[in-house]
């Protein structure tokens, strides 16, 4: 029951969400910067928390049965089970997820530092606001400076945080063997050789034991053998009814509100605009796939190239694309290409890397046996692509394309209206609709826009991507 809800929540476009929550935070903390600061932190939080929760849930569900049985037979306390079994088992998916959402986080951070609500523009001290101001005043030098700073920042965070973390978490990998080429991190090696971990360990151990004791009151991790089926059924029913009632109430309230403020006809308008943006997303996916699948395969099939290119792509993927928007806008202004087409480029700047990233990973996972077999069978280039490479990376491509599509929907909110200096370009589309509504403080239209966009994203996930996932798993899985 909660799982579809979580699935929906993680698909809702965060930028649209941001404008809605901003109003709430401003109401709570008027006149101070704290309100905007909190709103911006809240936006980043919502952009990450749902898929982290989802990842942890997935890891709980996929826990090996015998480890669960060991925990119960040894009568671990709930606290011990959580730290010895649940958390270690979930560390790897949580870290990867955190890393991916962190990249996306930069994007939202930059977008949320300058935001217009109710015809008022708020700016927080930060690099995002710096870029916005530079773009306003047409200072290309400062823009370049900001980009260099950002790259440095991403590199530093990668080296001192994510690298050590990913190298360290290798020990939580289940199964018999470690990976052929383990992640290495100089920072982690340095830390390991220093006295710091030992000292910290010594200092914290008594606290750990104490906590271990105190938390015994939460009881052991066993579950009773016999449950009262009738009582449980009643509990389930009550829960379902309450949730459904809340949902229905919210829906009715929302529709009434929209009807009162703008009329339900607005939903049709927004849906029409949504179709236009949908068209952009489709074109983006098709073009990005045609360009990046071959490139990704080329990189992934050659281990040397992979080793060099993968970190670069990782950084590119976490680089907030909105830093580049002023340049593309300038280009569009000069060449006279309309924003209706140019918007696709803007949206692609951030999202295309997911496809490349995943295809590289997929290509490097193609077993050598199969490649050798293809060589021995003297398959021509075309045949080799059709029978081996493309089917083998299909699963990874789906994963990348889903993420890219989600990112593109999100990006449309900032990419369909752009300005440089005194010029503003506005495209026809749902993203521009939401951005415009937020700017003028039209809460009803913002709500309509965000709701329609969420429907598009969730609907496409359910109808289209889930099927591709199933197909990839049943036909094109390499295991």
């Amino acid at each position: 029951m909660l799982i579809p809800l979580l699935d929906v929540l993680q698909s809702v476009p965060v930028l649209g969400f941001l404008s809605v929550t901003m109003t709430i935070w401003l109401a709570l903390f008027p006149t101070t910067e704290l309100g905007i600061e909190l709103a911006s932190v809240f936006a980043i939080f919502t952009s990450q928390v749902w898929n982290m929760t989802f990842a942890f849930y997935q890891s709980l569900v996929t826990q090996p049965r015998d480890l669960d049985e060991v925990a119960r037979l040894l009568r671990l306390t709930r606290w011990q089970r959580f730290w010895r079994l649940d958390v270690p088992h979930g560390v790897i998916p949580l870290t990867w997820n955190g890393m991916m959402s962190f990249g996306g986080g930069w994007f939202f951070l930059v977008a949320s530092e300058v935001i217009s609500v109710n015809n008022e523009t708020f700016a927080l001290p930060g690099i995002g606001a710096y870029v916005a101001a530079a773009s306003e005043q047409e200072q290309i030098g400062r823009l370049l400076l900001a980009i260099v700073t950002m790259i440095c920042m991403i590199l530093v965070v990668d080296v001192v945080f994510w690298r050590p973390l990913t190298a360290w978490m290798e020990r939580f990998r289940g199964g018999d063997t470690g990976p052929a080429e383990p992640q290495r991190s100089i920072v982690l090696d340095l830390l390991r050789r220093s006295n710091l971990p030992r000292l910290l360990g010594r200092a914290l151990r008594p606290a750990g034991w104490l906590l271990d004791r105190i938390t015994r009151v939460f009881g052991v991790t066993d579950r009773p053998l016999h449950v009262d089926a009738a009582r449980r059924r009643i509990g389930d029913t009550v829960f379902t009814v309450v949730v459904l009632a809340l949902l229905a109430w919210g829906l009715v309230e929302m529709l009434l509100y929209i009807e009162m403020r703008t009329g339900l006809g607005e939903v049709v308008v927004a849906t029409g605009l949504g179709l236009v943006t949908f068209g952009r997303v489709v074109i983006l996916l098709v073009v990005a796939s045609i360009v990046w699948v071959p490139v990704g395969l080329w990189i992934g099939l050659d281990p040397t190239v992979t080793r060099i290119a993968q970190p670069v792509v990782q950084v590119l993927a976490s680089f907030p694309a909105n830093f580049l928007f002023p340049f593309v806008t300038l280009l569009l202004l000069h060449t006279g290409i309309g924003i209706d087409a140019g918007g696709i480029v803007l949206m692609a700047l951030g999202s295309q890397w997911y496809i490349l990233f995943n295809v590289i990973a997929g290509a490097s996972a193609i077993p050598d046996d199969l490649r050798e077999a293809a060589t021995m069978l003297r398959l021509g280039r075309r045949q080799r692509w059709r029978t081996l490479y493309l089917p083998a990376v299909f699963g990874s491509w789906v994963t990348g394309a889903v993420t890219a599509a989600g990112g593109a929907w999100n990006a449309s909110i900032v990419a369909e209206i752009v300005s440089y200096g005194g010029h503003t370009l506005e495209a026809t589309g749902l993203g521009a609709y939401i951005a415009r509504a937020t700017e003028t403080g039209d809460a009803a239209r913002t709500l309509v826009g965000v709701a329609v966009m969420s429907l598009f994203v969730v609907g496409l996930n359910r109808v289209f991507w889930h099927r591709l996932y199933a197909l990839a798993a049943s036909r094109f899985s390499l295991t």
Binding site: L67, E69, V70, L73, L74, R171, R173, W209, V220, P224
Partner: protein, 440 residues
């Protein structure tokens, strides 16, 4: 163990008329364990012996208090279980070590769960590690160890809490032959030593020799539904010698019990035999052909234990092949002896195409599920049916996993005999040749 249950003089463990069933797809119940009563007393090793699918692991988990019986109850020292058995610890086939904890961390886990002080945890864990021959590996992680070493950690973790009852779920079957032989020997030695911490052992196995080597009593479980078929007391003194005639006699007797008294398809299946009450044994065509060839090579008749030993096979690997070949009438069994039938001999001599044709006839006449599929396909205009139809049919009598297995076996046999073909993309079965009896 430190737990003192209400009545110390009650039997260590009583399994009192338990049954366990899982709900089928259409609400009908699928019985895995049927009316089982077992008593485990202090100071004995009991082996639960059975083929795969006989529910022996389910029985062990019920004893461990990990799953609840549908009816009946399990009592530890006279007190009915309400959760994980407080007097038991378990050794797993898959070792079930936490990969992110060191050897010492894994062994200490149960002691820390009991809330013992840090120093005592450490001392007792190191002593247990020492006793099982893992000295020097305290700080190693499980993935750095070989399978045998990992299972030693599993033993140490189980011993260290000094449980009353040690449960072992096929503890040696994930290890290679030599390692498992070695570990079995060490277990026997430990059992014989005066300071062995546990009072009784209950071991699940499909290996007959293992049961005779270790146990004081062997309970043989039959399949569909799982019930206790027979109980054999092993009166031999330890250490036991595999070549002792008394030992061999016991092994032969257990083989006969395990294979002999099952309803065997010596002749054509009785008319009522359908896909739901007569499952196809999990065996591939190549395996059956290999077995027939081996038996033929050994002079058309062979004792199963000898065959298994010469192949370094275990009975669990061999029995599905024997059952399948028996169902198709290629082999006939008599107690522990197997012989090639007339049909089997001619089948074995035939060339590839004739062999396929002969197999098709046998499978269609003798394998109930294959016959059902072929009949249904012939009765359908166009001769194509979605596999979901048969899946729904099978779900009335099998669990989801067993349904898939049954379908896979039937498809494998039918494809080999060119009775029908299978389209994995559409998930449909279709007649190869709508003309009955004719083969390409």
């Amino acid at each position: 163990m430190t737990v003192l249950a209400p009545t110390r003089h009650a039997p260590l463990l009583e399994v009192d008329r338990i049954s366990r069933s899982f709900p089928g797809a259409d609400g009908s119940a699928l019985t895995v364990l049927d009316d089982i009563t077992v008593t485990i007393r202090d100071g004995e090793i009991v082996a639960l012996l059975g083929k795969s699918g006989s529910g022996k692991s389910t029985l062990l988990r019920t004893i461990a208090g990990l799953i609840a019986p549908t009816s009946g109850e399990v009592r530890y020292r006279g007190a009915p279980l309400t959760g994980a058995n407080p007097g038991a610890s378990m050794v797993f086939q898959s070792f079930a070590l936490l990969p992110w904890l060191t050897v010492q961390g894994n062994v200490e886990l149960g002691l820390r769960a009991a809330g013992l002080p840090a120093e005592e945890c450490r001392e007792r864990a190191l002593a247990a590690i020492d006793a099982i021959g893992l000295d020097g590996f305290e700080t190693a992680y499980p993935r750095e160890l070989s399978g045998g070493m990992r299972q030693r950690v599993g033993f140490a973790r189980a011993f260290v809490t000094q449980p009353d009852l040690l449960l072992m779920d096929e503890p040696f079957s994930a290890l290679d032959v030599l390692t498992s032989e070695n570990l079995r020997g060490e277990l026997t030695d430990l059992w014989g030593s005066p300071d062995f911490p546990t009072s009784s052992i209950c071991i699940v196995t499909h290996n007959i020799e293992e049961a005779v080597l270790l146990a004081d009593r062997v309970l043989v479980l039959g399949a569909n539904p799982g019930r206790i078929k027979d109980e054999v007391t092993i009166g031999l003194s330890r250490p036991r010698d595999r070549h002792d005639p008394a030992f061999e006699a016991l092994v032969d007797r257990l083989y006969a019990i395990l294979t002999g008294r099952e309803p065997r398809q010596e002749s054509l299946p009785v008319p009522s035999a359908g896909p739901l009450n007569t499952p196809l044994p999990a065996a591939g065509v190549d395996g059956m052909a290999g077995l027939v060839e081996l038996v033929h090579g050994a002079g058309d008749s062979v004792e199963l234990p000898d065959l298994a030993e010469s192949l370094l096979f275990e009975v669990d690997d061999l029995l599905p092949l024997v059952d399948a070949a028996g169902m198709l009438g290629l082999l006939a069994t008599d107690g522990a002896a197997v012989r090639v039938t007339e049909t089997g001999a001619s089948w074995q001599r035939a060339g590839i195409l004739d062999r396929k044709a002969a197999f098709a006839t046998l499978a269609e006449n003798r394998a109930p599920l294959v016959r059902t599929i072929v009949t249904a396909l012939r009765a359908t205009p166009g001769g194509v049916i979605r596999e979901g139809f048969f899946r729904d049919l099978l779900r009335r009598g099998y669990s989801a996993a067993d349904t898939e297995e049954q379908l896979d076996i039937a498809i494998d046999w039918g494809r080999y005999g060119e009775l029908f073909h299978y389209d994995a993309v559409r998930g449909s079965l279709g007649l190869d040749d709508p003309d009955p009896g004719g083969h390409r």
